[in-house]
Symmetry: C2
Subunit: 161 residues, 2 copies
């Protein structure tokens, strides 16, 4: 599928040269930040560290590792924020550097049930639980995403990419 | 993470009781349809067959299988549609039945660079290649997503879920 790419950092890319990010977790491949959006408490973003444009520009292993983190973040956000729904999106039209939005949605939030990029529906009062910041930071700090190993008898013999 | 769920079909869910879907590919777990949107040629949707709300309600295996299809669709859409950018999203606020939007975006389309759910920017003239329908249907019909096997020495011994 995609070719492996280390992806040069780009000077004019805000995700290559981040400023003032609220970093909650990172490994060598990607990082998790809290998006400070008054209307969307608990909105997290999972950012690939290298400058890569599309998910299918990554290798299969990189894609799996990346998505493991995204879903680990979704799990924590669900547990801490108790949202009515989770929204996931990888868009990148303005900033074509891979990043996943993980957004807890509430029936009472500003855009529900429409996506957060649509026109507002109401002033919005998301039902975030008390102490969500502390709990989110603590629980996200502890995530340990791993790529699931198949047992040997399932090995199709395709080997490692 | 999530518990395995077969997920009952829901009578009032439009993805459980689909009508007039343009089916391009399916297996036992999910299906790929073409979204007929005049402003977004090549817009595909990957729908989990059972009624499940969130990605982390699936087992890890189910998540990987689902995402393998999503990324296979992304690959084909890139090859056939030659978009300026791919947008991926799993939202489900109105229809909480897992489905991924795979949207080819063009600088000339109606909303670029904003998401497709935002306010229009222009009348829009997406630069879809000629014969895209035939090519998309043919190539999507041939996708063979598979879960990558790790070679035995990578097996952490966690076994199958």
């Amino acid at each position: 599928m995609g070719k492996s790419t280390t992806g040069n950092l780009q000077m004019n890319c805000e995700l290559c040269t981040p400023e003032n990010e609220l970093l909650l977790w990172e490994n060598g491949l990607c990082r998790v930040i809290l998006v400070e959006d008054a209307h969307y408490p608990g909105f997290c973003r999972v950012i690939w560290n290298q400058h890569v444009k599309e998910m299918t520009d990554l290798t299969e292993d990189e894609r799996q590792d990346f998505m493991q983190v995204v879903f680990a973040v979704e799990s924590v956000v669900r547990e801490v924020m108790h949202p009515d729904k989770i929204n996931l999106a990888s868009l990148g039209n303005m900033t074509p550097h891979l990043h996943w939005h993980v957004i807890p949605r509430y029936i009472s939030d500003m855009h529900y049930p429409n996506p957060v990029w649509s026109s507002p529906q109401r002033a919005g009062m998301p039902a975030a639980p008390p102490d969500w910041r502390v709990n989110l930071a603590r629980q996200l700090g502890q995530i340990q995403p791993h790529r699931k190993a198949l047992s040997c008898h399932e090995n199709s013999g395709s080997g490692q990419e």
